[in-house]
């Protein structure tokens, strides 16, 4: 187990360097000049511009800049925004709690509702309930997230007044339910379909017949034997999806006016603040890499036949 984790951590290093390098090169080959933008509509002073470039190290070759950036990150230094002079570390850590609350809530909704729907559909495979649930999931998958956002906001928020249409205080979980529901809707549908397929496959397994023959109560058969064995593909999907949640938050946070990571990255893109974009994407990549590792380790918990030497 320890050796497996160590090997996986080592394998992460080239992937981490590669992904961040790609995103770094993409961002810094952008046209548009934030240094020039400091002057706004006034004529810039060439000498001052050159001085700022030199101080920020923007004259170095891209690979040298990348190396400086990477070593900085490992010392907790994400650099500063050019326009606002703020530490990018502060920008990220200020935006993070709201996004964490939002994605956490969305993950909870996805897991509970998605698995629940999949379980009900899988146990009644071929029936009317099953077909109904499958249709609802297809609908959720095919309606883009921003449309769902506006529909929920208009009907649940404005017309029915059940929930706050716009989030005013992102510390208040009651206000976050609506955006979390929107963010979760796509993954929820995928989780429901995955769970259903998995349940249908495992329902006829030998251990199910054994469990029934032993006279176990139905809730134990379904809850312990069936559900636990059907969770592996679902857990994989949920893990990979957490990264998507953070990216999908760009749309959801925009609609509901939440000051999170998604909003921060969108603003940074619009302002051509390369370092901020790279910082946030790097953060998401790290989260993604660690979650895939945790998911792989979870397999062994779910299925004792899987062991990591």
């Amino acid at each position: 187990m320890g050796r497996y984790v160590a090997r996986r951590l080592l394998q992460m290093i080239p992937v981490f360097i590669g992904s961040t390098l790609v995103i770094f090169l993409m961002m810094y080959s952008l046209p548009g000049d934030p240094i020039r933008a400091l002057w706004g509509e006034r004529a810039p002073d060439e000498a001052q511009m050159a001085l700022i470039r030199e101080r920020l190290g923007l004259d170095d070759p891209l690979l040298v800049q990348y190396w400086n950036y990477l070593t900085g990150i490992f010392q907790g230094d994400f650099g500063r925004q050019i326009g606002t002079r703020r530490e990018i570390y502060d920008v990220i850590s200020e935006a993070l709690p709201a996004t964490l609350r939002l994605t956490g809530l969305a993950l909870l909704i996805t897991a509970v509702v998605g698995v629940g729907m999949g379980l009900i559909a899988g146990l009644r495979a071929g029936g009317k309930t099953d077909r109904g649930i499958l249709f609802v999931t297809l609908l959720l998958i095919s309606v883009p997230v921003f449309v769902i956002g506006y529909v929920y906001q208009t009907y649940f928020g404005h017309r029915l007044g059940w929930m706050e249409p716009v989030v005013q205080d992102d510390q208040d979980f009651a206000q976050l339910w609506l955006p979390a529901l929107v963010l979760a809707s796509l993954s929820l549908a995928y989780v429901a379909r995955l769970t259903r397929t998995s349940i249908v496959e495992n329902r006829r397994a030998d251990y199910m017949r054994t469990a029934r023959a032993k006279g176990l109560p139905a809730h134990r058969i379904v809850g312990v034997h069936l559900l636990r064995n059907s969770m592996i593909p679902v857990v994989t999907f949920l893990g990979v999806d957490l990264g998507n949640f953070m990216a999908g938050a760009v749309v959801t946070e925009g609609i509901f006016n939440i000051n999170g990571i998604g909003n921060a990255v969108y603003r940074a893109l619009a302002a051509r603040e390369g370092a901020t974009v790279v910082g946030i994407v790097t953060f998401i990549i790290v989260v993604y890499l660690f979650i895939t590792l945790i998911v792989d380790l979870l397999y062994a918990v779910l299925d004792p036949r899987i062991r990591y030497a």
């Binding site: 992937v15 590669g18 998958i141 796509l186 998507n244």
Partner: protein, 329 residues
């Protein structure tokens, strides 16, 4: 989102099950039982003729295929479906005018937008960009990802190690955010720019599935037989491995197509997709959001058409997967 292709965790598993099923179907001559159900008795049945036979009898396939044919027609010949000019705006006469059902498919039957342009005409003319982007991203991803996956799976060893790490690297970058970073650098974005941006990060899923599928196929006896008869590497790859390994890849690509159309719409919605004067559903939905409290129809109708389009491609992908997977029969 496209990277959430409708697949369980390990892309190798469905590929393996599909490919194993494909082998006997392709090589076995038609027995009596097969001839009874098969389309052409006496001839050996391939996986594809089986799948086609299966597909023709599925209502979901027929409905989604009919919708897609209609959408393709609209994309190719928008002028057949409306006489109105999608760019002509009459702010005085038609500003945010409600739908008026004088008769179906007239310019005013779905109302007018904030520029006084006919919503119906804009929906019709917006179809082309969504369809073109969806199909061309899928095609590029299939060729590029498929080639990379096949080389990695077929040669194995250090080639596989290098290509798989490259795939991992691109898979680690969030799809939507990465495309946004690519697209923000262009001031004018055409269909080509958006297509290339989506394909740039989208090929990884296809490459992985192709690799898994090729690995499971290349161990088959007929590959060893062809090799011992002296078939060269390229002949082995193209004539023996590719036809038997492609089925799961086609399925993934078809499901992903709907995802690429969604991605295009989301990018346009964020203001990072197609730029004016291009007409696109996502862009129109983006511009409609300010009016949502006073005129819902401006946002509603393009959204419905967009959702129907994505739904039909997803249903088609689902049907093809079911038909190609002998395990489910």
């Amino acid at each position: 989102m496209p990277e959430t292709a409708d697949l369980p965790g390990a892309p190798g598993t469905p590929a393996a099950s599909l490919a194993k099923g494909a082998v006997p179907a392709q090589t076995a001559p038609a027995g009596p039982a097969a001839a009874e159900a098969g389309p052409a008795p006496g001839k050996p049945r391939s996986l594809w003729s089986d799948a086609w036979y299966e597909l023709r009898r599925r209502p979901t396939f027929l409905v989604s295929a009919a919708v897609i044919v209609l959408l393709l027609l609209i994309a190719a010949f928008p002028g057949w479906f409306t006489s109105a000019d999608p760019r002509f705006g009459d702010l005085e006469g038609h500003y945010l005018q409600d739908p008026q059902l004088t008769h179906f498919f007239s310019p005013e039957w779905l109302g007018y937008n904030q520029q006084g342009q006919s919503i119906y005409a804009r929906m019709i003319y917006g179809t082309r960009s969504s369809i073109v982007i969806g199909i061309s991203v899928t095609a590029i991803v299939l060729v590029f990802g498929g080639l990379l996956g096949m080389i990695a799976g077929f040669f194995g060893g250090w080639v596989d190690a290098v290509l798989s790490r490259v795939t991992d690297i691109f898979m680690g970058i969030p799809f939507l955010l990465g495309s946004m970073v690519v697209l923000v650098s262009f001031d004018e974005r055409s269909e080509l720019t958006v297509t290339l941006a989506l394909a740039f990060l989208g090929w990884t899923v296809v490459a992985r599935v192709m690799r898994g599928s090729v690995i499971s196929v290349k161990q088959a006896d007929y590959v060893a037989a062809a090799r011992s008869l002296g078939a060269g590497t390229w002949r082995l790859m193209l004539r023996h491995v590719l036809p038997n390994a492609i089925a799961p890849v086609i399925v993934v690509a078809m499901v992903a197509l709907g995802g690429y159309i969604t991605a295009e719409a989301v990018l346009s919605y964020l203001g990072l997709g197609l730029t004016e004067p291009a007409i696109s559903w996502g862009g129109d939905i983006n511009r409609a959001q300010d009016q949502i409290r006073v005129a819902e129809h401006v946002l509603l109708f393009p959204s419905i058409l967009l959702s129907i389009t994505i739904l039909s491609f997803l249903m088609l992908g689902d049907a093809v997967r079911d038909a190609l997977d002998p395990k489910l029969r």
